[in-house]
């Protein structure tokens, strides 16, 4: 009788690994491949050169007014951004009070960063800080009117401050509201289900501009005299409701992907509806739709630019506002301003996107080693 010995593994042949082999296989496999590679390469070089020339070589970096940006071959007009930077971040928030905004930014980051890092503990305490203490603190600091702080009217808020206030409120409110709406839409109770479907379909069927317009112009007509919400608050409510309708549909997609067996196993273990939802269904469903959730967040972040329509100046709005400043009127002012605003938006959105990929990998439970 012969016994069987497994064959020992050998390393892969040299021609299939390494840089040269990789380029050959992926970039120059045949004539068409080679042609496409060269074409793409030329295109990249051309675009990079153009951007580099505009943003650095031909750009102006110092100066106090438009005269700095009127060279014969003029690239970006960075002094414009420098001169207006404070406005872009804080809007018309008074210079002397801007430390309050900085403090709010900083205290937000102190809670947010450890919250986003899965391995840092104190999540529950941090949650209470971020969702309980922080909003109140931020409101008092930004709005003032108590604790000896001067009142700063919301009409003076602007720039990145408004962008972040609207976006973060929208994000924080839309997730729980969206979850409740999605659960309601799948509820066995016909009235709850009908209300949720109605809400979702109405808000999804209307452009955000309309919602903002309604919130800011129409809503006051329905309120009794004397009751008057701040315009920013009305916008926040509009944005939160609008994005929660989208979020609801994203979450519903995740709920539908959970097999019936999970509900049955939970029921057989004696768990009721809320415990099943909270412990079994939502953790799995939300994990499945992280890309969709972040997609909604990113969309919401960019949609904040629409608050301009009701007279609030977010980052983009305030950049545009300053185009009209005669002392900075140059042919390159517009494009420089737009590139700056675009870059800031891109930075936030890209960070969200990378973080979502990180979280997906972190939450994956089908890795082969524990």
């Amino acid at each position: 009788m012969s016994s069987w010995t497994p064959t020992a593994p050998r390393p892969a042949p040299a021609s299939t690994v390494g840089f040269v082999a990789w380029t050959r296989a992926n970039l120059f496999a045949n004539k068409l491949d080679t042609a496409l590679t060269l074409l793409a390469f030329t295109l990249v070089v051309y675009v990079v050169e153009a951007i580099f020339g505009w943003a650095i070589i031909d750009a102006s970096f110092t100066g106090d007014d438009r005269t700095a940006c009127l060279k014969e071959v003029q690239g970006a007009c960075w002094p414009f951004i420098e001169a207006k930077f404070g406005q872009f971040i804080y809007g018309r928030y008074p210079d002397a009070e801007r430390w309050r905004v900085d403090l709010v930014f900083l205290s937000g980051l102190i809670g947010l960063i450890p919250m986003l890092m899965p391995n840092v503990g104190f999540k529950r305490a941090n949650m209470i800080y971020l969702l309980g203490f922080y909003p109140i603190f931020a409101f008092i600091m930004l709005n003032g009117g108590m604790l000896g702080l001067a009142t700063v009217d919301t009409t003076d808020w602007g720039g990145l401050l408004v962008t972040l206030v609207v976006a973060i409120t929208g994000i924080v409110a839309s997730l729980p509201l969206g979850i409740l709406l999605a659960l309601g839409r799948r509820s066995d109770l016909p009235i709850v289900r009908a209300l949720c479907i109605g809400f979702i379909e109405i808000f999804r069927g209307v452009p955000l501009i309309t919602v903002l317009f309604m919130a800011s112009v129409m809503l006051p007509l329905f309120l009794p005299d004397g009751v008057n919400f701040d315009k920013l608050v009305r916008c926040l409510i509009g944005v939160a409701l609008f994005s929660s309708a989208y979020m609801a549909e994203v979450v519903r997609g995740g709920l539908q992907a959970i097999p019936k067996g999970q509900y049955e196993a939970a029921a057989a273990l004696g768990l009721g509806y809320w415990k099943t939802t909270r412990l079994i269904i939502l953790p799995q469903a939300l994990k499945l739709v992280i890309p969709g959730i972040v997609n909604t967040f990113i969309g919401l972040f960019k949609d904040t630019t629409l608050v301009l329509i009701v007279g609030l100046f977010d980052l983009l709005g305030i950049v545009q506002l300053h185009f009209t400043d005669a002392s900075w009127a140059t042919p390159e002012t517009h494009i420089t301003g737009y590139v700056f605003a675009g870059a800031v938006f891109w930075l936030f959105c890209f960070a969200m996107s990378r973080y979502s990929i990180f979280m997906e990998n972190h939450l994956s439970t089908d890795r082969t080693s524990s």
Partner: protein, 246 residues
């Protein structure tokens, strides 16, 4: 027969217009082991799922340990905490470790402390012979190991009755035995068990009674020796000739 722990009386169930269960009468004594077999679609799963109300019946009565299964939520809670269930597809919670799967019900339903629940879970994982997998996720285990976790998870509620719906049907032959061994051990310890299975060897070894179902009816029930060697009904004979020749 001593006082039955499960009493099913003239129970009928329909899915829409489809009459799945017809006039089911069944009494199960404490500690009794019952194996249910029958062709696909005969209503075996539906029958045992009615016992912990994963399916609701429309006519007749089901009583578990003296508690009637009607619409009452309180009765339902009581019954579910006394009845454990193991599914063909395991239905483990993939986002929780093996230990978390097992401690879930003790902590959230029975309000045990975390430490107490973990101690219990580790004991039961030991009993199903996978004490060293506690920290893993279900996705990292073989089918046989997953099914044993599912058994441990159900046992963690300390149920007096266990329902099994084809617990070995989704397993490779090599893993069937490791699960059946656990079931045999459990049976020997005196647990009341209702098991839907086509493992006739297992039925012979542990069952007190074998029930044959077809078209939503209990066609025949008998002690295993009599059932296998001398089935009364023609339909049963045909079925047995098909499963036993494999």
């Amino acid at each position: 027969m001593s006082d039955p722990v499960i009493r099913i009386n003239k129970m009928n169930k329909w899915f829409g217009n489809f009459h799945v269960l017809r006039d089911i009468d069944l009494n199960v004594a404490s500690g009794e082991k019952i194996v249910i077999c029958g062709p696909s679609g005969s209503g075996k799963s539906t029958l045992i799922r009615c016992i912990n109300r994963l399916e609701t019946h429309q006519e007749g009565e089901i009583e578990v340990e003296g508690v009637t299964l009607d619409g009452s939520l309180k009765n339902l809670e009581e019954i579910r905490s006394n009845v454990g269930m193991v599914f063909q597809q395991f239905n483990l919670f993939p986002h929780m470790t093996v230990l978390e799967n097992c401690t879930l019900s003790p902590i959230w339903v029975q309000q045990k402390s975390q430490a107490e629940a973990e101690k219990l879970a580790r004991e039961l994982l030991e009993r199903v012979r996978i004490p060293d997998q506690a920290g893993k996720y279900p996705g990292q285990l073989s089918g046989g190991q997953q099914q044993r976790v599912a058994i441990a998870r159900a046992l963690c509620m300390n149920p007096r009755i266990m329902l099994f719906d084809e617990p070995t049907s989704a397993l490779d032959p090599e893993m069937i035995k490791e699960v059946l061994d656990v079931l045999v051990e459990l049976a020997n310890e005196g647990m009341t068990m209702l098991c839907v299975t086509h493992e006739m060897g297992f039925a012979r070894q542990v069952a007190d009674r074998v029930i044959f179902m077809d078209e939503g009816e209990i066609v025949e029930e008998n002690a295993p020796e009599a059932f296998f060697s001398n089935p009364e009904n023609e339909r049963t004979q045909l079925f047995l000739s098909q499963v036993l020749t494999h």
